[in-house]
């Protein structure tokens, strides 16, 4: 029994095969692109659509085969074949949707798929109910199975290759679909050729069998196309959506990358800035450390004080020297280190200096940690803000003890020198007087002794006696002349006659004798007139007179144990336009009856005195045309000097 083909149906079956192939290729891409449940949904629905497509092509192909007998189909078997087709499609889709497809997997997939399709084909044939016995050509069956496997391999490779959504794949996909569709059809028709039908009289079991009307055949085709179309459409929409999503994704990723790059750059910049800041901070710290080191190690005590005078910084040397801790020294605590007798030890003095707002400096003794006081020079300098208000006081305190000591030594030396000068001058004078007077006296004594001897001898020589006696007279006269000459020397021996400022001389003498006064704890009060005329004379000699008077005063008061040791010098202009100088001491004075005797040469009340000072002083004053006299009151001796103004009354 031979059959013939309805070529219209054949064509339709091939078209279904091509459409199914296209759907399969398309769906493979979707399945591959999806993940999780979506992937499972795509896989399931894709497998169903593809399975239906394959199955429909096959069924159409069978319908196209027309036998001279009526053919019915056992529909449960038809459903089974459909199931196999769907399963094979699922395997195919699964295989092609994997990330990688190794040759073993490709072969396994193609064997399963090819076997599935072949299985579906022969199950489909088994569903035929017709009055004939079906025979199969083993060779053609084998060939058809191999063909199915081969086609499956090609299909898998094509699908795997075309699953990526690239431009220009549409044409290739259509081409591939045509090839695949044709190959499926070829396999089908080979499978059909393997079966031959021999008429038999066996009664047909037509339970669950049904015939296929031409309308049903069309229906199958239409339903198949609808399913496949829907699948392709869905796939296409999904793909497009997917493409859009991907595009958005790419854009997003691009933006993310861009932003990340920007962020990275910003970050890097920030890190550089932080590092730069840290370096600057470190440099600042080092600079601060350096400055602190300088402030702590310079050989001076350094401090800063607030405008009210309370200390807010004392350098290390300050703290080390005074032994005061930071807490003890700050505020007004540092005042404790200043000697209580110094004016600087009271805060009032400082307040005045701070209130004045000008740089200041003064000297004070500062106690060292071991209790010793040393002289220091305090200097302060205000720091002002733009408005001129004092913000802070900065200052140094420098050790001037050695300088002070040197000053004292110098003063002592000066005073000593003045003293020595006075003594040597007097000593030389006395020596000269002694020698000058001694010579005639020696001659007189010798001659007188000669005379005595002559008179005592048995034969005195009157001539020699007369000679000796006349020599005695001459030498006596000579001795007197020597005294007169010395007096005259003092009176006339002042060739210098210049205008002298008495106040200046008093001040110079006070400086010269400062140490002498201090050594004897004598205070000197000066009351110097402001309108004094100048006097004519020799400043050095007048200085000697004042030194003499003051030294006498010092000696007069230095014996006072209890009570004031005080000297007062007063200069004034008196009614005769003369300059008057008064030197008054707080000693016990002298016997008023001796008031004139004290000016006589060699008169002295002092154990070590030679009694020349006042005598010489009076000579000097008188040689300047002035007067020197003394008064003794209840409060000590008063020596008074008057000197005529320059250019008047000078002898």
């Amino acid at each position: 029994m031979t059959g013939s083909y309805d070529y219209g149906e054949v064509t339709r079956s091939i078209m279904i095969a091509v459409a199914a192939s296209y759907a399969a290729l398309d769906l493979a891409g979707r399945v591959a692109a999806a993940r999780g449940r979506t992937r499972a949904a795509w896989l399931t629905s894709g497998a169903i659509a593809m399975g239906i497509g394959i199955w429909a092509m096959h069924f159409k192909g069978m319908i196209a085969f027309q036998l001279p007998v009526s053919v019915e189909y056992h529909w449960p078997t038809v459903l089974a074949s459909l199931s196999v087709a769907i399963l094979a499609s699922a395997v195919a889709l699964y295989a092609t949707s994997r990330q990688k497809m190794r040759p073993v997997e490709a072969l396994t997939g193609s064997v399963i798929m090819g076997s599935g399709i072949a299985g579906m084909h022969y199950i489909g044939i088994a569903a035929m109910r017709l009055p004939a016995v079906t025979h199969f050509s083993l060779l053609l069956v084998t060939f058809s199975i191999l063909l199915a496997i081969l086609f499956s391999l090609v299909a898998l490779l094509l699908a795997f290759d075309l699953r990526e959504e690239n431009k220009g794949t549409a044409l290739r996909k259509i081409g591939s679909a045509v090839v695949m569709g044709t190959a499926i059809s070829a396999m089908h028709y080979t499978g059909m050729a393997a079966a031959s039908f021999v008429p038999s009289a066996v009664p047909l079991n037509l339970s669950h069998a049904m015939g296929i009307s031409p309308l049903g055949s069309y229906g199958i085709a239409i339903v198949t196309f609808l399913v496949l179309g829907a699948a392709i459409l869905t796939s296409s929409v999904d793909r497009r959506a997917d493409v859009t999503v991907r595009q958005i994704n790419r854009d997003l990723e691009h933006q993310v990358v861009e932003r990340t790059t920007q962020l990275g750059a910003t970050n890097e910049k920030l890190r550089r800035e932080i590092a730069e800041r840290e370096r600057a901070d470190e440099a600042l710290r080092q600079s601060e450390d350096g400055l602190r080191l300088v402030i702590d190690t310079i050989p001076a005590l350094v401090w800063s004080k607030l405008p009210d005078g309370s200390a807010d910084f004392l350098n290390q040397r300050f703290r080390e020297y005074t032994g005061l801790s930071v807490e003890e020294g700050l505020g007004e605590g540092w005042l404790r280190a200043i000697h209580p007798e110094d004016p600087a030890s009271s805060f009032d003095g400082w307040r005045a200096a701070f209130a004045a707002g000008k740089p200041f400096e003064f000297e004070a003794r500062l106690r060292r940690a071991d209790g010793e006081y040393r002289w220091f020079l305090f200097r302060g300098e205000p720091l002002r803000d733009e408005a001129g208000r004092i913000v802070k006081w900065y200052g140094t305190t420098t050790d001037i003890e050695d300088r002070k000591q040197a000053e004292w030594v110098l003063q002592e030396a000066q005073a000593g020198l003045a003293h020595v000068t006075r003594l040597t001058t007097m000593g030389e004078l006395v020596g000269a007087i002694a020698h000058e007077v001694n010579q005639p006296i020696a001659a007189i004594v010798t001659n007188a002794n000669f005379c005595l001897r002559q008179l005592a001898s048995a034969t005195p020589h009157p001539d020699k006696l007369r000679e000796a006696i006349s020599e005695i007279v001459n030498d006596g006269t000579r001795a007197s002349a020597v005294i007169s000459r010395i007096r005259a020397l003092l009176q006339k021996g002042t060739p210098k006659r210049v205008a002298v400022d008495i106040n200046q001389i008093i001040q110079e003498v006070a400086i010269l004798l400062r140490n002498e006064l201090a050594r004897n704890h004598v205070s000197l009060r000066m009351d110097l007139g402001s309108d004094l005329p100048r006097v004519g004379g020799d400043g050095v000699l007048l200085q000697q007179v004042l030194i003499n008077l003051i030294m006498n005063g010092i000696e007069a008061v230095s014996s006072i144990v209890r009570g004031v040791r005080e000297l007062a010098i007063k200069s004034s202009r008196d009614h005769n336009n003369e300059v008057s100088i008064q030197v008054k001491d707080s000693g016990s004075g002298f016997d008023p009856q001796q008031a004139e005797h004290i000016f006589e040469p060699f008169f002295t009340t002092k154990p070590e005195g030679i009694g020349m000072g006042l005598s010489i002083s009076r000579s000097i004053v008188e040689s300047h045309g002035g007067r020197l006299w003394a008064e003794s009151g209840p409060t000590g001796a008063l020596f008074q000097v008057t000197l005529p103004a320059y250019g008047r009354g000078v002898p």
Partner: protein, 174 residues
């Protein structure tokens, strides 16, 4: 040895003092020469007789103390009596250490000066005699022959006569 008249030299720049001292010293029978300065004294002809020097410390030019030193340097060994108008202990010590006989302060007691002058002259006389004795010995020694001088040396160095005899034996002396 005939004693010549001793001479007292007075050096004082004050003529009045000089004359007074001269008068006083002459009154005890001594010869006196007065000079106003050290230079005058050095230039003078000094007789070969016992002598001494009454010297004022304070002199024009060189001082009395320095002059004492100069005389010692020049080996003029004349005893010195110092007189001064004002002396101190230091000056006195210096003068006495350098061999002064006395240091008197003007005005001095007449007897003190005269005693000092006597001591000084006696010291000079003794010195002169010592020097004269040495001169005589030297003259005698000079008169000896060379061999005599050897023998003198042996006599001086030998400590016993027997040893001296042994040393002189091999030769006849005269």
């Amino acid at each position: 040895m005939i004693e010549t008249t001793p001479t007292v030299f007075v050096v004082d720049d004050d003529p009045s003092v000089g004359r007074a001292i001269k008068r006083l010293v002459e009154s005890v029978g001594l010869q006196v020469a007065h000079f106003g300065s050290a230079q005058e004294f050095l230039r003078s002809e000094r007789p070969d007789a016992p002598s001494c020097l009454v010297l004022d410390v304070r002199l024009p030019g060189v001082s009395g103390l320095d002059f004492q030193h100069e005389l010692a340097e020049a080996n003029i060994r004349i005893p010195i009596v110092f007189v001064t108008a004002h002396g101190d202990i230091q000056m006195t010590v210096r003068a006495m250490k350098a061999g002064a006989v006395e240091f008197l302060t003007k005005p001095f007691r007449d007897q003190d000066l005269l005693d000092a002058v006597q001591v000084a002259l006696e010291r000079d006389r003794a010195r002169r005699q010592r020097e004269a004795g040495i001169a005589t010995l030297r003259d005698r020694y000079e008169s000896l022959s060379a061999r005599e001088r050897e023998v003198v040396a042996m006599v001086v160095s030998a400590n016993s006569t027997s040893r001296l005899r042994r040393r002189l034996e091999p030769r006849k002396i005269l």
